[in-house]
Amino acid sequence: MAVAASAVLVVAAAGCGASGSTGGGSGSSGKPTLTLYNAQHEELLKQITPGFTKQTGIKVRMRNGDDFELANQLVQEGSASPADVFLTENSPAMSLVDSKGLFAKVDTATLAQVPKQFSPADGDWTGFAARSTVLVYNKSKVSEADLPASIMDLSGPRWKGRIAFSPSGADFQAIVSAVVDVKGTAAAKTWLEGLKTNGKVYQGNNVVLKAVNDGEVDAGIIYHYYWYRDQAESGANSDNTQLHYFADKDAGAFLSVSGAGVLKSSKHQAEAQEFVKYLSGVAGQRALAASYALEYPLNPAVPANRAIKPLTELDPPLIEISTLNGPKVIDLMQQAGLL
């Protein structure tokens, strides 16, 4: 019994500790602590949030996960979610949460900070960063003449056993959503089946990059910044490779938008709105541009890092951002045996 009693004590203590930290209540300064459900890179947000806390006195804590993991979690938690703000790497997960009516409208002034095409028409969330789809290839395995004109070519027999990608990640899933949007469901399905035959599956874009660099595989589908980050750090995982940008509004030139939104169920609406405003405002975007991230800031007042190919030189397909369909992509990928 003594053991049982002490166990109860331990459990109670653990419970208290936990509820104390999940309460999200007020900090010592009297300001609330915001809870972010963060599907963007954790390191990036760790570089942005200190400035926000310094400016406003509002503390921030994060639950990190993947786009669809956290989006579906928000859907399940519904109005009882502890989250105040939701951030993703890619927009389809934002649309999923939006389709369940869980977002509050983003302040008009905040929406005005980024060009219209980077936010959905209903104004329920806003874009705050963008990343371009690229093909990374090993210079000694693929000659420039061999490079595909369209991402759709990669499902053809010429690329059998030569192409790497990370289907369980939200990045690749967003690229698939663009293919669905630009080429239609049937073509996307055939494409996925071709990739399943041709491709080597890796866990994460960093690993894809490394595999291409090591010559394990000839080329890989990733976002631009993985390559630039490695170049900036040491080039150890990218010096043997080069980037190929698709052009002519090809589905492979897809520019994916990272989104931020305020949950309707948040008990700290004003502070949550303030955070989103900071994120796409000049200060937040400068922090983003100056960080290791090398993603594109969307606020026109803030230029992107000069190392990366300028946003104006990209030629992405024109897509109404809110039409990118997450659940349909997962379904297609399950049918193709990629998930």
């Binding site: 459990v11 639950r63 669809f68 993991e69 399940q76 009882a80 994460g204 595999a211």
Partner: protein, 529 residues
């Protein structure tokens, strides 16, 4: 290791009618209630999987189950599990024979070194290999690495059993004209079968639940596929359906193990006079045998440790963020201790009923907790996420839920230890205590607990060891802001920051080492004691 001790007097409810009779009955009833509650808790994930499969309906379940991906995963999982069980059994048995029955030099050292891979979590071992060469990705590499990680699970019981075998049977075989090799196959192996098969099945059950090692090696199995589904859909139907297939596979192995336990029989009846078996002289084979053992230890222990050291020294992303290292280590230790106390406490009523009140109900309760052996962490976590979000919102995303998951997963380890200890504590002493006027509480505190303390400690140590290296349930259930050594190690390797991952991996191995050492010496003693 597994023995049913029948020491002590008669068991069962008894006790003289008298002033102490009523509180003791009340205490028994209370224990029964507690035991039932624990069993129900342990059954939550299994019930969840069954109920989910029924609720989703045959049509959708069929659509999610009969698709090429599932076939692919089934093939992958089956050939990996079977391959690893066979290889581990062969390797574990051969190594055990060399250590226990040959004149191989430095046998004590070998014994420790062969048990030591248990202190290196499989995903750290995997990291060790894959960060040095990507050639180990795929089936062959996965088979090699998981075998190197799991063969001690066969080695330890087989070595223990070899020590305990009565050499008389083998001598009889020699006398009847069988050579050494045929004696081994026809006389020794049949006696070792329970340990070999039991160890092999244990390898299979562990492997079905293995996530990190295989994810790193890009070898998809049911468990890694569930995680990928989770990342793409939280607790969506596809993830839950794969979980039900996985549980089915695990149950098949578990049933095999249960059957085996039922039939296991030691040939020897008395234990007084068995001599230690004579050791075979290796002669010219000494050098090859020593080289083989050295190779095995180098591959299973040298590569992961060497790789960790390599990345600690030369990794470009290597950093020693003291604050983060200290706080994650503290979190791992705290969760490990909390889970150890909670799980051992939950094991008490179940074990007590199983030993002191034998009967159908007690057996059912004990078996219910045992089923958790067949529930991989990812299934337990998935079930708890869904159940807590629907029915017990306040515990959702708290460390309490995470501790509960640990308790469910590792309850069998605690129950076995506590049960063994209780069985060896004579109930007569409790009766004496009662007759001297002590109530049930005082008896527990002053008589029973001191008697079974070593057993409780062993159970708690087993749980602690398992929690520190647990990855999947922790990834899914950890409250906001909670990072353990395992999750930090994982997130760093996932972004190919091997140098940054290394300090966390090294700390995990350091924390696991003492408990593993204890286990290896315990396994050596348990047969002779």
């Amino acid at each position: 290791m597994r023995r049913r001790s029948r020491t002590g007097g008669p068991t069962g409810p008894r006790g003289p009618a008298g002033p102490t009779g009523r509180p003791r009955e009340a205490a028994s009833a209370l224990v029964l209630v507690a035991g039932t509650a624990v069993a129900l808790l342990a059954l939550i994930p299994l019930l969840f999987v069954v109920v989910y499969t029924v609720v989703i309906g045959p049509h959708e379940a069929w659509a999610l189950l009969v698709r090429p991906r599932i076939g692919e995963l089934l093939v992958n999982t089956t050939r990996l599990v079977l391959g690893c069980m066979v290889l581990s059994t062969a390797l574990g048995t051969a190594a055990a024979w060399l250590v226990e029955r040959s004149d191989l030099p430095a046998r004590r050292l070998w014994h420790v070194l062969l048990a030591a891979p248990l202190a290196v979590p499989a995903f750290v071992n995997s990291f060790g290999w894959v960060s040095l060469t990507p050639k180990v990705e795929g089936y062959a590499g996965a088979l090699l690495i998981v075998t190197l990680s799991y063969f001690p699970l066969v080695y330890l019981p087989v070595a223990a059993m070899l020590r305990g075998l009565d050499p008389a049977l083998e001598e009889t075989a020699y006398a009847l004209g069988l050579g050494p090799w045929r004696t081994f196959v026809r006389v020794v192996v049949p006696q070792l079968r329970p340990a070999m098969l039991g160890g092999g099945l244990l390898v299979g059950i562990h492997l079905l639940a293995e996530f990190g090692a295989l994810q790193m090696l890009r070898f998809p199995t049911f468990t890694t596929a569930i995680y990928d589904q989770y990342r793409s859909s939280f607790n969506g139907p596809a993830a839950n359906m794969i979980a039900s297939v996985l549980v089915l596979c695990c149950l098949v192995l578990l049933m095999g193990e249960l059957r085996l336990r039922g039939h296991q029989r030691y040939a020897r009846l008395g234990r007084g006079s068995a001599r230690p078996a004579p050791r075979r002289t290796l002669g010219r084979l000494t050098l090859p045998a020593t080289l083989a053992m050295t190779g095995l230890v180098l591959l299973s222990l040298g590569v992961p440790i060497g790789s960790l050291v390599h990345w600690l020294v030369v990794g470009s992303s290597t950093a020693f963020p003291i604050g983060s290292l200290a706080s994650t280590a503290a979190t791992s230790l705290g969760l490990g201790l909390g889970a150890a106390v909670l799980t051992t406490a939950l094991a008490m009523p179940v074990a007590w009923l199983a030993v002191r009140h034998r009967g159908t109900v007690s057996t059912i309760l004990e078996r219910s907790t045992y089923f958790a052996n067949a529930l991989p962490g990812i299934v337990v976590a998935l079930a708890l996420v869904t159940v807590s979000i629907r029915f017990v919102r306040p515990v959702y995303q708290t460390s309490l839920l995470l501790l509960t998951a640990y308790a469910i997963m590792f309850l069998p380890r605690a129950v076995v230890s506590v049960r063994t200890a209780l069985a060896q504590a004579p109930p007569l002493l409790e009766d004496v205590s009662h007759s001297l006027g002590h109530g049930p509480l005082a008896t527990l505190r002053r008589v029973t607990l001191p008697l079974i303390a070593p057993g409780l400690g062993a159970g708690a140590a087993l749980v602690f060891l398992a929690v520190v290296t647990e990855l999947t349930a922790t990834l899914l259930l950890a409250p906001i802001g909670t990072a353990t050594l395992a999750t930090q190690f994982w997130s760093n390797t996932a972004s190919a920051a091997y140098g940054a991952a290394a300090p966390y991996g090294a700390l995990m191995v350091l924390i696991s080492a003492p408990a593993t050492y204890l286990l290896s010496t315990e396994a050596r003693r348990s047969v002779t004691s």
